[in-house]
């Protein structure tokens, strides 16, 4: 549906997007993730035809966004970061303008406007001035505008920013619903949000793609680090020597509490239970009682932070399902 090839955008000496390549299939919800300033908005702006690229290509349904702009744009509904609304109009008038600009007219136009108004649940404010609406409603009018003329691709740039928790949930539900009939791409810098509504997540940082996978796969591949916390009887030194004798744990931090010692350590091994067992028997052999033991998984959030901070060295993480991306990155490496 969408193919982005070697996209680069420079502002003077600053590179906002660098050699970005990925392909997005039909249907589903795609999350575009990255910290602020990672190049999310720039990429989306280019995909929607609002911005030119320094080099590279973007194709929507086979139409080039630069050379065949009219055909490509008819297939995209775009909501920029700040909803582009005319404050003096009512949502209905505004949607009529957008519909006409998208080539709709007559009864078909009215029918479609009413349909998107119902879909985004803005019936009760459709005849009030946009300037008077709350932020949540403004956002909905922005989404309604993107949905007019039923484009196969809907691009939403940070649709939940600045909304209250209830509104966020409503917008998320709406995005999920849209994913059934459209290819939805939305950007966010909140990972948990992408995790709950996306079928696929693209993580970009410093203008480069660093991961493109399903949330489950990302979790499986990346969440290897576990943290184990124990409380044991005995002194600091004895505990340290017992722990050091066990393979597969590192980064041990000890704290002496007089009659007992609490220790926190990390392991990269998948089978955390094997490590727990080894710890248990090691302490048993020395006749030291283990008073507490617990293990926690690093959250996807931690991984996200780690990934985006080390963006320079990482190569894109993808599964076999996204072969095209993998081969592309290899090609670019070969070049």
């Amino acid at each position: 549906m969408i193919s982005v090839e070697h996209l680069t955008k420079r502002y003077g000496n600053f590179t906002a997007v660098e050699d970005l390549s990925f392909e997005i299939g039909e249907g589903h919800v795609y999350g575009f993730l990255g910290p602020n300033g990672a190049g999310k908005s720039t990429t989306m702006n280019i995909m929607a035809g609002c911005l030119s690229a320094t080099s590279g290509r973007v194709q929507i349904d086979g139409y080039d966004i630069f050379d065949d702009a009219n055909h490509a744009k008819k297939r995209i509904g775009y909501l920029p970061e700040q909803p582009p609304l005319y404050m003096n109009e009512t949502p209905f008038e505004y949607l009529r303008f957008v519909g006409e600009a998208k080539g709709l007219h007559g009864t078909e136009l009215t029918r479609q406007i009413l349909a998107v108004i119902a879909q985004t649940k803005i019936e009760e404010v459709q005849n009030r001035r946009i300037a008077e609406l709350s932020k949540g409603y403004k956002q909905r009018v922005g989404i309604a505008q993107a949905l007019l003329a039923n484009p196969p691709v809907v691009i939403l740039d940070e649709p939940t920013v600045g909304l209250d928790p209830l509104q966020i949930i409503e917008i998320r539900d709406l995005i999920k619903e849209l994913g059934q009939n459209h290819t939805v791409i939305f950007s966010s810098h909140i990972l948990s949000e992408a995790q709950t509504i996306c079928d696929q997540i693209l993580i970009i940082a410093k203008g480069k793609l660093i991961a493109f996978d399903t949330p489950e796969n990302l979790e499986k591949k990346l969440l290897t680090a576990h943290e184990i916390h124990i409380v044991a009887e005995g002194g600091k030194q004895e505990t340290a020597s017992i722990l050091k004798s066990i393979d597969g744990i590192n980064d041990i931090r000890l704290e002496d509490n007089g009659s007992w010692v609490s220790a926190t350590m990390k392991t990269e091994r998948h089978d955390v239970h094997a490590i727990s067992k080894a710890i248990f028997f090691a302490f048993a052999a020395k006749k030291h009682a283990l008073l507490e033991m617990s293990s926690t998984k690093a959250s996807l959030e931690d991984v996200f932070i780690e990934l985006t901070e080390n963006a320079e060295t990482e190569e894109p993480l993808t599964t076999a399902a996204n072969d095209s991306v993998e081969t592309k990155s290899r090609e670019s490496e070969a070049q």
Partner: protein, 287 residues
């Protein structure tokens, strides 16, 4: 294009702009008609228009300041870029809506000569020739206003520059008398003009090399002409200023001459500035 036209018209009539514009225009021409046609009992309606043309200095910037500057400020230009419309369609749609807003009061004005004709001898061909030229003059100024608005996202600045430019154009003929008519004076002024053009090129393209070359080549051409035959420059600058004045060309109509070259000149100005506006809008996509 028609979507933009309809939308812009709706915005004008939702806000006060269209009404303020129309009211100013009608009030000024009304005062003129009272002074010339009623008090002084002159039957030439075109004199009223000659008097009324000064109102453009204020009302054209009021009408055009928001056209593009406002879109930038509210970030609605993003929508225009994302919709399946070309920049040319957007600019032409916006320009046509301005013409409609301008034509409504002008239609009312065009009844005046007929009313006066009921009470005396009015030579209608010159009156309507004058109204037509008045329309063309306004249309050309509106095109300039659209371009100025496309340069900034600050409406106030757009209005300020607009007023300055139109005022300068209005007085350029009287001012030209104060400019040096000697060859050397013209040469220096043209060099300064070349420098200003280079600065504008630099601002629009953000390309130093192109700007240096433009400035350099223009000044070199001037130098060559100066060395070959310096007498060409004699009186050159005042002549250019008179030629470029939109208002001066309008006064030939007021004096009862229907001048086709002026009509062509107005059309050229409209096309030229609309073209520049399209480029200015398109440029933002590349910055």
């Amino acid at each position: 294009m028609f979507a933009v036209l309809k939308h812009e018209l709706r915005l004008y009539f939702h806000s006060l702009t269209a009404y303020v514009f129309g009211a100013f225009l009608l009030a000024f021409i009304g005062i003129g008609a009272m002074l010339y046609n009623i008090q002084a009992a002159v039957s030439n309606f075109e004199f009223v228009l000659g008097f009324g043309s000064l109102v453009f200095v204020v009302i054209v910037p009021i009408l055009t300041m928001r056209v593009i500057a406002e879109e930038r400020k509210q970030k609605t230009d993003q929508l225009l870029y994302a919709l399946p419309l070309t920049t040319t369609q957007v600019i032409i749609g916006k320009y046509l809506s301005l013409l409609v807003v301008y034509l409504i009061p002008l239609c009312i004005v065009s009844i005046y000569p007929l009313i006066f004709a009921q009470f005396g001898e009015v030579y209608l061909p010159t009156a309507y020739g004058g109204i037509f030229a008045f329309f063309m003059l306004g249309a050309a100024l509106l095109a300039i206003g659209v371009f100025i608005s496309s340069l900034t996202d600050n409406q106030g600045l757009a209005a300020g520059i607009g007023i300055a430019v139109i005022l300068f154009n209005y007085y350029s003929v009287s001012l030209s008398e104060y400019f040096s008519a000697t060859a050397f004076g013209s040469f220096i002024s043209l060099c300064i003009l070349a420098f200003i053009i280079a600065v504008i090129v630099r601002y629009l393209t953000k390309n130093y090399i192109l700007a240096y070359w433009t400035g350099g080549v223009l000044i070199a051409i001037l130098l060559v002409i100066c060395m070959l035959d310096a007498s060409i420059f004699e009186g050159f600058l005042p002549q250019i200023m008179t030629q470029l004045s939109l208002f001066e060309r309008f006064y030939t109509f007021v004096n009862g001459v229907f001048d086709m070259t002026s009509i062509v000149y107005y059309c050229t100005i409209i096309v030229f500035f609309l073209f520049l506006s399209v480029q200015s809008l398109e440029k933002r996509r590349y910055n």
